[in-house]
């Protein structure tokens, strides 16, 4: 009575196996930052924020914003569901395949990257048991300490980078580097450098040795080495998507960011900022009003909400708050703008710091200049119309020479600018370096006890479905709020 049932219960419209490169490509595409990073990360570091409440409330009011799809769930849901799950699958499918060793090690490097973004955001997270819902039948993964996660990330990056081998079959279909092993090695070492430098407060010795090892291995030196996702109209940049749809008229450049760029006559202001002069509403933010002239740019001051910002806009002699400067969402933050994850600019600035600390050989000033140059050139890679002229780069570097006495502040303030539109990295580096020196958001009625938000809270869903493991994590790490510091972050 069950004749033919085996055949009947095989899905005729889907595959039971797929080239793991295709799922690897998907994992990388999905690593682009979710729109929710505008609510916390970019607002905590005071680059882009909104005066509005509701679903976009967060760092603008220094309050948490939870719920099934709250802003705190953005990275968590996207990375675990759509990145880690695929990478775990790719690693499983390639680990025993002698012809796919390069793919295997590329996936390990990318998993180290994604895991770093996750742990830097939340602290202790499921890591060793993550993504094993199917392969390990584990749907309630335990939380690992951030220390153990970093130790493993360092090991994975070291091993995987070393194991990449251009003489073995390479993966031309890889959407990041087209299977270029040399670039993957540079990415691996640059990530190792980033991971090492993350530990300056908590374990300077390990930070030093790791940075030195990464530098010796060869890191990114040109913008063609950058790790980025070249989004397109079919695979859109989620941050660009948010800034061009429902929240188009809701997010503005902060006054601190605009003022920093303007007072330093930074040529990047013209690439980054756009103001719809005289706009009295979102609908009036039309192309005809668009003005990119750095001299007219005015950032929105922090500390206001939707009720109080109109008066401030009037005081600032603006038509309305829709008249403040925004990130140019027709260029750098357009719908299909590329997402930069790991860049030469960031890497060179980290080298500058390592050199400043005497951990590697080389001139901190040279690395510093190389980092700034790379970022200014990178803006042109993001959108040709945003390119900074070579002469302007030279002029800026001449006007702002490296001063060793202020080295760490200079480097990390530049890192802040260089990580614009990469909220998670700007937020992480701000915490580990304590630069730039930002004035705390003065909004009345904050929920945090300290001056800045120190981490992102876990999604409420974990309390519902993984409570025992979550409680173990919060009991050792500290309460699940915005104040608790992650392991590598010391006051």
């Amino acid at each position: 009575c069950e004749k033919g049932f085996d055949g009947l219960n095989v899905n005729p419209t889907a595959a039971t196996a797929l080239n793991p490169l295709f799922t690897f490509n998907n994992a990388m595409i999905n690593t682009t930052f979710p729109g929710q990073t505008l609510v916390f990360e970019t607002a905590i570091v005071q680059q882009i924020f909104t005066p509005n409440s509701g679903i976009v409330a967060g760092a603008n009011y220094n309050i948490d914003n939870r719920g099934p799809t709250g802003a705190n769930t953005g990275i968590w849901q996207r990375y675990y569901r759509d990145v880690v799950r695929y990478l775990v699958d790719v690693i499983d499918k390639t680990k025993a395949d002698a012809n796919r060793t390069n793919l295997y090690n590329m996936a390990r490097i990318w998993k180290a990257y994604a895991s770093m973004v996750l742990t830097d955001s939340y602290g202790d997270i499921p890591y060793s048991q993550a993504g094993l819902g199917f392969l390990g039948a584990n749907v309630t993964p335990k939380y690992d300490t951030q220390e153990s996660i970093y130790n493993d990330i360092l090991k994975e990056l070291t091993e995987a980078t070393a194991a990449l081998d251009a003489t073995k079959p390479t993966e031309a279909g890889d959407i990041m580097y087209g299977g270029n092993i040399e670039k993957w090695k540079k990415l691996g070492n640059s990530l190792l450098l980033r991971a090492g430098m993350r530990l300056v407060k908590v374990n300077p010795t390990l930070a030093q040795s790791t940075a030195a090892k990464a530098f010796a291995g060869g890191v990114m030196t040109a913008n063609t080495d950058n790790a980025l996702i070249r989004n397109n109209p079919n695979y859109q940049n989620p941050v660009g998507g948010t800034l061009n749809s429902t929240e188009a008229a809701n997010f503005y450049l902060t006054r601190s960011f605009v003022d920093y760029l303007r007072t330093n006559e930074d040529p990047r202001l013209a690439s980054i900022a756009a103001r719809y002069v005289g706009a009295k509403s979102g609908a009036e933010q039309t192309a005809a009003r668009l003005n990119r002239d750095p001299s007219v740019q005015i950032g929105m001051p922090l500390g206001f909400d939707n009720g109080t910002i109109p008066a401030q806009a009037t005081a600032d002699k603006l038509a309305s708050f829709y008249d403040y400067s925004q990130v140019d969402r027709t260029r750098l933050a357009r719908l299909d703008a590329p997402t930069f994850m790991v860049t030469t600019a960031q890497t060179q600035l980290l080298l500058a710091e390592a050199a400043q600390r005497g951990w590697i050989t080389g001139s901190a000033a040279d690395f510093y200049a190389a980092g700034i140059t790379a970022h200014m050139q990178q803006l042109g890679d993001a959108d040709a119309n945003s390119a900074v002229p070579a002469a302007a780069i030279t002029a800026y570097l001449q006007k702002h020479p490296y001063v060793a006495a202020n080295g760490l502040e200079q480097i990390n303030t530049q890192y802040w600018v260089a990580s614009f539109l990469n909220g998670p990295e700007a937020f992480a580096n701000f915490r580990r370096s304590d630069f730039p020196k930002l004035t705390p958001n003065p909004y009345p009625g904050k929920e945090i006890k300290g001056e800045f938000i120190n981490r992102i809270s876990y999604p409420d869903s974990e309390l519902s479905v993984n409570a025992a493991n979550l409680r173990e994590a919060t009991s050792r790490q500290g309460p699940d709020n915005l104040d608790t510091r992650v392991w590598w972050d010391k006051p």
Binding site: C1, N25, S53, G54, M176, Y177, D336, L463, V465
Partner: protein, 1034 residues
Amino acid sequence: QDRRVTGTVVSSKDQQPIAGVSVLIKNTTLGTSTDADGKFTISAPANAVLVFSSIGFLGREVPIGNQTVLTVTLEEGSQNLNEVVVTALGIKKEAKRLGYATANVSSEQITTNRTVNFMNALQGKVAGVNISSLGTGAAGTSKIRIRGQSSFSGQNNPLIVVNGVPIDNTNFGQNNGNTGSDGSVGSRDRNYSDGGDGLSSINPDDIEGMTVLKGGTAAALYGSRAKDGVIMITTKTKGSGQGIGVVYNTNFTTDQPMDFTDYQYEYGQGEYGVRPTAPNPTSGVWSFGEKFNGQTQVLFGGVTVPYEPVRDRIKKFYRTGSTWTNSVSVSSGSDRGGFNLSISNTDNKGITPNNTFNRKTANLGFSYNLSPKLTVTGTINYSNEYNKNPPQIAQQDNSTPTVVYTMSNSMPLDVLEANQINPATGNEYIWSRFQNRTNPYFVLSQKFENIRRDRLLGNLTARYNFTDWLYLQGRVGQDFWSRDQDYNFPTGQASLAAAPAGFVNGAYVQEARRFREINADFLIGLNRTFGKFGIDITAGGNQLYRRSDVNSVLVTDFIVRGLYIPQNGRVKDPTYGLNERKVNSLYGAAELSYNEVLFLNVTARNDWFSTLAPGNRSILYPSVTGSFVFSQAFNNLPGWLNFGKVRAAYAQVGSDGDVAPYSNNLFYSVAANLFPNPSGLGQPVGNITSGTVPNATLKPSRTAESEVGLELKLFNSRVGVDLTYYNKTTSDQIVAAQTSDASGYTNTLINSGKSRNRGVELLLTGSPVRTKDFSWDITVNGSYNETKLLRLLSDTIPNEQIVVGNGIYVGDLRHVVGQPLAQLYTFGYQRDAQGRIVHGGDGLPVRTSTPISFGSALPKYVGGITNSFTYKGINLSFLIDFKLGGKMISGTNLNAFRHGLQKETLVGRGEADNKMVGVGVNERGEANAVRAFVQDYYSVGRSKSLGEQVVYDAGFWKLRQISVGYDFTKMLPSNLFIKGIRLSAVANNVAVLKKWVPNIDPEQFGFSSDNLIGLESTGLPITRSIGFNLNVRF
């Protein structure tokens, strides 16, 4: 040798003829029914016994002897001794033989007070049956629960059987929480209408009768799909009486939206105490502005209008809808058979101004005795439905209910209507900075959805009676439908990102589905008596084959503006899906009777499921029932006891839990678009198709149910009692439990867990007054049901629980071991030992450290009371029904709080700094003194997910139906071509007598989801329908 017998059937009360009485030759299927004058003609063998039965009368058995003309008098009574009930597989049985509870529904109960989806007309009418219509429009889903919800997920709707063959009742719409079953189908892309269910294609005029088989025993012969009971619908297959009969019925109702909003109209639009004065687009939804005092406000980048309350938003936006049904049937009957042919047309104008629904049906039923031994019966039902623009619900984008219920209290609707489209851009005029709160008038004019369904269902049965005690029956039935749906996401809608250069934004989906279910079965029946003993054996087999497939194409961005067709799209994403399943079954039943007072019935069934793991596919399950008609067994019983029966039953039912085919494996697919590598060469992007962890070892779930019951007729049958206690456990349930995202998956298919439903059903009928001119009948039905979760994955984890879904804004629904099913969880207020609310340093309430339970969303008490009065042919009846004991978390009220519409949000307003001090203590236990913005204070439901603010009792008492009718028949001259006229005035959803949730009707749920209950998000207002029904017989 057969001979011709004619006769008349009359009522004992008034000696008036009774039409439509079934006249059967005992132990055969041969028979006829009486015509409008109560007359019948039948050919019968000399020693035959005729069985007379009719709803509302006690049945009788009359031996013909040597008579050729009979006059048969029937006593009134609501559940008669020899009443014939249609049981599983369409087998007709006398009610007294049954060891389990059933309920009959007459066609009048469905057709007089009718609803577009006819099931909704039965709300509150059947003990133990909980029917909910939703706030999703007239053609929306009807949710039916018999004896409560038994499964954690999957489908809990009963099996619908038409003329002995199951039909598909797939529920279309946004089914959050429905997990992967092919029994429920959600929309593909950002479309949140309720596409209705399978029941809505049935024309209530074609229904001859309906039987609800409530318990597992009744359903044992339907197997897996009957674990939640069976609703057996019999459509007409022949006319009553001789000759050609024509019946015309027309029913017209107007449907008015009921407005329960009780908002504050003291402070108007604005935020943090400031009204919109600058020409900015305002929030549109916040009512935390200034006190109304004759000011003006500025809207839409420049329009200045008075700053004043806008009341009656529901009536201003929605219209009065209407439903008009016309049907004509032609039938003929004789003792050799007959036919019934009917056509009908239903036109519904929804309360949403662009929503209409049309249904046309044609139904042909026939039965014919080819020879005294061979009978052929068949039915064909065809329906054509067109649902145009069903409203978007339980969502923000394009949802008119969400916007109408949440917009600011000083937002003039005429300004919204006049400014839908910005003339400068041709796009939606941005009226709110919440851009996915689409201007509802823009939705009406720009968003469309068309759902067209053609459905053909029918079956053919042949039965051969070898002798009067042995027959063989073969039957094949098919339910086939095709459904075409298309809808858009309008170009220019404010929430959409701009398209790449050269294109305009928007999206369009076109979908074509086909569904086919074939059931083929055979049955052998043997029926013998040996002295006082009788034996009735049935054995048979069934094969179910179901295939559904779907072609769908989603396109995003367009080349030509306003042309919504696939080839005009920039990105095209076509998909194809296919589901196939089979269930093979063998079964048998044996009934032993003694002296027609003691009955014992045993059944056994084996199912084989294609969707389950090899080795686990087969399940055998039994049932045993008994009944004892003690009133007929003893002679010395008091005279006031007319009828008494006790019954007991035990049954098991196995099920594949409606798990979707292919749930056993992980599958991959390739995305519609390639992604270029650095050299610009497009590369495939691979997906894992499902977020649910598959399970390769699925085994059947098993429901075991026992019930005992008592039926009594007392005092000349003027009082009737039918009492049932049941206890039902369902184990090895297949459920998709929510998982930690860190597992990479959102759900996992578990095949464990046990729940128990226990309850009591009571049906009381009484006729307090019965005189020649006036009678008063009262029917009370009520049920108590409690569903408790006994076990999940392990026996060791305390308070083990699974999460089955989330509300849109706040709250989740869980099943927790040891607790009633469907616990609503959300964060509560943190309170000190004295119960005072703790406030944080920000002056806002502090939430509990974890979400806490606020009780079960399932109602415990469901029932209704019908009173009918008859005075000289005028009939008045009204129904009051209730559902009590469940909780809800109200999303509509959450918005009303955070938007400042609730009256409660007036507390604390009016201070110069727009701040207030919340009543309670701070974290050190001192009185809270921290001032917080009023707006922030009332927004904690959203900003902190502090859902306790909007937990309500979901219960209600409603005056559900009223009808007043008069039968003009006896005023007609007897030689007129019109044989009968009956006119009724009807009203549905007349009034809510008591409810606990403010601003909405407690049944106004936006989700059509099968399981995600108690998490309310804004649905369409419930309508009050008033109209008439006219029935003319020719």
